[in-house]
Amino acid sequence: MFVPCERGGGSAGSDFKGFTLLMPAVSVGNVGQLAIDLVISTLGMTKVGYFYTDCLVPMVGNNPYATAEENSMELSINAEVYSLPSKKLVVLQIRSPFIKNKYRPFCQTLLSWVKSSKCARVVVLSSSHAYQRDDEQLLGTPLRYLLTPDLEKAVGGLMQDLNWKEMEKVASYPGINDTEKVLHIPGGGITKLLFTESCSKGIQMAVLLKFCSEGDNIPDAFALVNYLNEWLQLIKSEVNTSSQWKIPSSWRLLFGNGLPPALF
């Protein structure tokens, strides 16, 4: 599945033992993916490889994080891996939706790659439909977290100190039987599947998600990446952290082209 780039330093470039794997779930508003774009762009991460998979819709373009003419000509595809060894961080970016019926095989292959590359833990950035919140969730922070039991042992206390809110479980048959609670992440794509599989496989995984709706999701991406930063401290958090994340050049023209002058 994982194909290393030759440039990525050979075997050193693809040695992720003990690293934190940061990845998005393709979810409502694409917030996880936008947040990952901010991380890769701000930290100037190097591409070390890609996933050769038949589970995602194919796409290709030139370098989305280009800053100048010289680095704008590198091809970029739908699932690529970037790394920053100084922070023991490896990031997977997913740029297209799943092909029908292929999301399960993708999750299986991804989690076995996580195990075989000996990543210490996985952090999934995701989102959930804001309109599905209950009355209590409408108040307070729209950000939530989840930890698998193995990661709970390691960092559960830190979440308490940060005053983070755990994602609430909902009744499986609301109105009929309120005692049986299940995890429900509407609009979260593969988030729930990845989380439940990681729980059963003993993988240390955290899910960070934001309640949001489709629209201009750039502010949601900033909120999610700042939330992540409270924990992982990827950049120095000062008063106005939003201005410290670098927007990639590919975010231009998200809402269409310029207008024809003849319109006026």
């Binding site: 508003g29 194919p58 796409m59 091809l75 799943f98 979260g188 207008l259």
Partner: protein, 215 residues
Amino acid sequence: MATFFGEVVVAPSRAGVDDEEEAREETPEDREIRRELEKKREIDILWTLKSGATTESCADEPFVCSKFIVAIGRNAAAFLSSFILDSVCWEVVGVVKLWNEWCRTSSTTNVLPTDSFCLFYRLISDPTVLLCQCSCYVAEDQQFQWLEKVFGCMRKEGLQVTILSTCPVADYKTQESTLTLPSPFLKALKTKEFKEQVCCPLLEQPNIVRDLPAA
């Protein structure tokens, strides 16, 4: 989600994930239906050997290929028909048989320009030059299979691949409006291994390429 008229609709999400899909457990009947559908959507490539006989697999001997030109879509296929292909210099060596909701191709090599087809041609004077005209739509779940089956038959050392395709100008993202843009225009994407001169400017972000050309 409630709309202005008060009716409740399920908003389509850019994320493209169908929640219902994950909740439903697959029954044995569902599995059988899915398997039958998958079989129906399988791609078959029929190659014509030197002897004139058609064969489905080229597993014994992948053929040597120095240049592979692929034209995807009706416009690109028509370009090849008008300017490159002729019955004197090129011979048909393969055909792809596939079915999806948008089109069906057959195993005949005698096609009309208005048909949906996917044919492979070889330059008679240099049999390592291959050409593919693909005017049919290859669905997303078939693109990977197409790729593996076609490229699986050729030796990849020293291979140069050129992909010709078209996109609507309206899809092009640019600072000015596309109405004033002189069209048609050419843009290119190339791998870093491609060292030759490209005849047109490179495709700038945030523009991307999808479907079979991307695959």
